[in-house]
Each structure stands twice: as structure tokens, then as C-alpha cells.
């Protein structure tokens, strides 16, 4: 009760200071919010590309149906494989005519179908990684009637490199700005602690427990962090609306991310004030 009253009173006593600290935390977390927005949309884009990752096993023209069936069963037996589709030479030609109309005439005039029969191996979500596609390809290449197995090695590697870069930059920049936010809250709390040093001194003098002294400050820090996080969400949303309306189509980050952001803001606020008050109590 005392802790809640004092924490709220702190906002009333020094509205400019608390407002400024919440505002600065909000700006720091806003950067984290923008990065989350970018990361989330990058993730969506990469997932769309990732869905197209598949292994195509090209078969020799003289491959017998029984051999093809054996390979098909073996490839389908991989846990990571969701579907294996046989594409005959005729199917391949029809698809080429459909998808590449500019070469339509060329295909029609040709007496021999130049396209090979193949097996298209689709992978389950989460398994479209370089090592899985390589393993599946290597298994197919072991058959003498297999011409080659391709999966766009170069761009699969690039795709995953891009994902790693995205993840690493989110982690590094997110941590950096979260630390900035924590430092701001810590500094604001140190000012608040300094402003109330007489009260803290008297609390210690008459035998208040340390936990009792700390609680209002922890709550104050948590509230400042939460207020900053709310502000960051509002700013990020405004940016999202602006980008969506004037630049290009983007997706809004999921509610769970916002929840985590708000919780993190509050926890960072509480943690940084805990450090500040702990240091102060050691000194008095």
C-alpha cells in the first residue's frame, strides 16, 4: 500500500522529471520497436522466399519407372520431406509452355522434348535449411539414373546468411537500445532517490527494512519503464501507419511481441531502479 502510494506520489511530485525519463525511455524503446517492425517484416519476406526452397532431382531419360518409384519412396521417407512429386517430360514441357510463353513457339517447333523428367521434393516448414537440402540432394545423387539434384545452393546459403544477419542485428541493436533505456531509467531513479535522500535516511535511521525502502522505487521504475514502452508502441504504430499509407505495404507486429515489449519495459525499469537503490542503500 505504502509502496504504491509513494510510487504514484513520485509521479505527482516530479511530473517533469518522471515524464522526461518515461519519454526518453520511450524514444530508446521506439528504436527497438522500429527494429522489431523491420525484423518482423523481413521475417515474413524471408518465409515467403523460404517456402520456395525445394530440391529438384533431374532424372535420365532412360530411368525405369520402377527405379523412379524406389527413389520417390526413399525421398518421401525423410522426416524433413513433406511431398515428392513426379514431373514427367511431358508435364515439364507443358509447364514450360505455360510459364515461359516467350519460348512457346520454340517448344512447339522442336521435334524432341529437351526437358528432363524430374522429382520435385518439398520440405516441411522449418527444415528448409542448407544442410537438409544438401542431405536430400546427396541421397538422390547416389542413384545412377539421376542426372543431378539442384536446390539453388547459392541463394539458399544467401537466404540463411540474411536471416542470421537479421537475427544478429536485432539481438545486438535491441540489447544496445534496451541498455540505453535501462541507463536512462537508472539515472532518473538516481535523481529521484537523491531528491528523497532525507526520507531514505530517516527510514534507515528508525529501522525500516531495506525491502520496504526499495519497493516504492522498484514500482516507480517499473511504471516509468511501462510508460516508456507504451509510448514506444504508440510511436511505432504511428510509423507503421505512415509507412503503410505513403511508402509500401508492411505488416504490424504481433500482439505477443507488444506484450513482451511492455513486460520488458517494466522489468527493465524495475531492474535498473533496483541497481540504483541498492547502490544508494550501500552508501548511506
Amino acid at each position: 500500500m505504502y509502496a504504491i502510494r509513494e510510487a504514484l506520489a513520485a509521479f505527482r511530485r516530479a511530473p517533469v522529471l518522471t515524464g522526461l525519463s518515461a519519454g526518453m525511455v520511450g524514444l530508446a524503446l521506439f528504436v527497438v520497436g522500429l527494429f522489431s517492425l523491420a525484423t518482423y517484416n523481413l521475417r515474413i519476406a524471408l518465409s515467403a522466399i523460404e517456402e520456395r526452397v525445394e530440391v529438384v532431382v533431374y532424372l535420365r531419360d532412360d530411368a525405369r519407372q520402377s527405379e523412379i518409384d524406389t527413389l520417390l519412396v526413399e525421398l518421401a521417407a525423410f522426416d524433413e520431406v513433406s511431398r515428392v512429386t513426379y514431373v514427367s517430360k511431358r508435364d515439364a514441357l507443358e509447364r514450360a509452355q505455360r510459364e515461359l510463353p516467350e519460348f512457346g513457339q520454340l517448344f512447339l517447333e522442336s521435334e524432341v522434348n529437351p526437358l528432363p523428367q524430374s522429382l520435385e521434393v518439398e520440405l516441411r516448414p522449418g527444415n528448409r535449411t542448407p544442410d537438409v537440402v544438401e542431405r536430400v540432394s546427396d541421397a538422390a545423387r547416389g542413384y545412377p539414373f539421376v542426372e543431378d539434384a539442384l536446390y539453388g545452393e547459392e541463394w539458399v546459403d544467401r537466404l540463411f546468411a540474411l536471416r542470421r544477419i537479421g537475427f544478429a542485428s536485432t539481438a545486438v541493436l535491441g540489447t544496445a537500445f534496451a541498455m540505453v533505456a535501462a541507463l536512462i531509467i537508472g539515472t532518473a531513479l538516481r535523481i529521484a532517490i537523491f531528491a528523497r535522500r532525507d526520507e531514505i535516511y530517516i527510514m534507515r535511521l528508525v529501522g525500516a527494512r531495506n525491502g520496504f525502502i526499495r519497493r516504492p522505487f522498484l514500482l516507480e521504475g517499473a511504471l516509468a519503464g511501462l510508460a516508456g514502452a507504451v509510448l514506444a508502441v504508440v510511436l511505432t504504430y504511428a510509423t507503421y501507419r505512415g509507412v503503410y499509407a505513403y511508402l509500401f505495404e508492411v505488416a504490424w507486429i504481433p500482439g505477443s511481441w507488444i506484450g513482451i515489449g511492455l513486460l520488458t519495459g517494466a522489468l527493465f525499469g524495475a531492474a535498473s531502479s533496483a541497481i540504483a537503490i541498492r547502490r544508494h542503500l550501500r552508501e548511506v
Binding site: M1, Y2, I202, M203, V206, N210
Partner: protein
């Protein structure tokens, strides 16, 4: 109740503030701790209040030892030892009642009981009629009474007073001393640091400790002067 055994306190830049001090203050005793400025009076008070720890030796207060009490348990010591200072250390901008109530609240007194107990303490120190006055409106003597009322919120066994009359005139000093003797008559031990020898002479029944350059050089309860 309070026992100092071969207590020394050394500060990194100042050197020794106290050197091998030993004494015992029993239940219900009234003692002065005197000495020139820098003799170690305030250091002794701080050590007894466990605001600081000795470099060597041991301070025991009401069963707690400076050697073993943890930071976490210091509040237990502070509730057994009341303390007042020369500069009162009251919360400015608040009333007399609020200053005492604050101490009651932060030490866990139930909300319903705070007002009644604060009023009782103010009556005990003779300030019942000044409960609503802001501390800035009070005289020095009255402010010290508020500080004393605040120091009594936990019903301590001992009251430490560090130069409590240093800022007071003759009349206010007399009033504060009467209050201390009243508290002592009710069983509370009082240890008062002062360099006012005239004041000490007016209270010949009190025990006297004298410090000089961090060493205890006199204890009136001992047959002879204590030599270092």
C-alpha cells in the same frame, strides 16, 4: 545492553578515529560521552547505531554483534536503538505529526494505530498542541522534541543523542535534558554525546565517558581514570 570490546575504527584518509575503546553501558543507565571535537564521539555513536562497522574489536547492542549482524538484519538493531542529532534531521515541509507518523508507517505500524501512537508520543515530549505545525514553524527545542518523539516510535531500549543540545539555547537545553531524564526514569538507557562540560557538571549523577584522540581516557564508573 551496549558493549564495546577493544573497538578501533580507522578511516582510509583520516587514520584512527577510535583506538582500542572498551566500555559497557547497562540497562537503564544515563551516560555522557564527552571529548573535544574529533575525539571520536560521533564515530562511537555511529558504531553503536551500526551505521558503520569497527575496523577491529566488537560492538554488541542488545544481543546483536557488529561482527555477525548482516546488512539485512540491521533494521532489528535500529529498532532497539533510538537516535537523535544536533541538526534534528526532520522532514521539511511536513508537520510535526507527519514526521512522527512517517517513522511509524515505515516501521510497519498498522495504519489504524499510527495516528493514536503519534499523538501519544507527541504528548510524551510535550508537543501535543503543535501536532499540526510544520517543522519550519517550530523553535530549535521543539524540533529536537519532534526528533526525540520520532526516535521513540519503536520503544527502544536505549537512546543515543549526538550533541542534541548543540543548537539549543539554555532554556531549551534544560527542557530536553528533563525529557531525557524522564525517559531514563522509565527504564530507557541514554547515551548522550556532548562537549558541553557545564551541562555535564549540572548532571553529576550521570555516568561519564571521556574520549581523547580516539582513546577512552575516563570512565566515571571505573575507580581510576582509564589510560590507553
Amino acid at each position: 545492553m551496549i558493549k564495546l570490546t577493544h573497538v578501533s575504527k580507522e578511516y582510509p584518509k583520516r587514520g584512527y578515529a577510535l583506538h582500542d575503546v572498551s566500555f559497557h553501558l547497562g540497562k537503564g543507565e544515563f551516560a555522557f560521552l564527552t571529548g573535544h571535537s574529533g575525539s571520536g564521539k560521533s564515530t562511537t555513536m555511529r558504531l553503536i547505531h551500526m551505521a558503520d562497522r569497527p575496523t577491529d574489536g566488537e560492538v554488541r547492542v542488545s544481543g546483536f554483534s557488529s561482527a555477525t549482524v548482516t546488512e539485512r538484519d540491521l533494521w532489528k538493531v535500529r529498532r532497539r536503538v533510538g537516535m537523535v542529532f544536533q541538526d534534528f534531521r526532520l522532514l521539511p515541509g511536513r508537520s510535526t505529526l507527519e514526521n512522527v507518523s512517517f517513522a511509524l508507517e515505515v516501521t510497519g505500524t498498522p495504519q489504524k494505530a499510527i495516528q493514536a501512537k503519534a499523538n501519544r508520543l507527541l504528548t510524551q515530549v510535550g508537543l501535543a498542541t503543535k501536532a499540526g505545525a510544520r517543522v519550519e514553524e517550530l523553535s530549535g527545542g521543539e524540533r529536537q522534541r519532534v526528533a526525540i518523539a520520532r526516535s521513540l516510535v519503536n520503544d527502544p531500549y536505549v537512546l543515543l543523542a549526538d550533541e542534541p543540545t548543540g543548537n539549543l539555547d539554555e532554556r531549551a537545553t534544560r527542557g530536553i535534558m528533563e525529557l531525557f531524564w524522564d525517559l531514563n526514569a522509565k527504564g530507557m538507557a541514554v547515551l548522550m554525546a556532548t562537549h558541553d562540560m557545564e551541562l555535564i557538571r549540572r548532571h553529576p549523577h550521570a555516568r561519564l565517558f571521556e574520549l581523547d584522540q580516539g582513546k577512552l581516557v575516563y570512565d566515571s564508573a571505573a575507580t581510576d581514570s582509564v589510560t590507553a
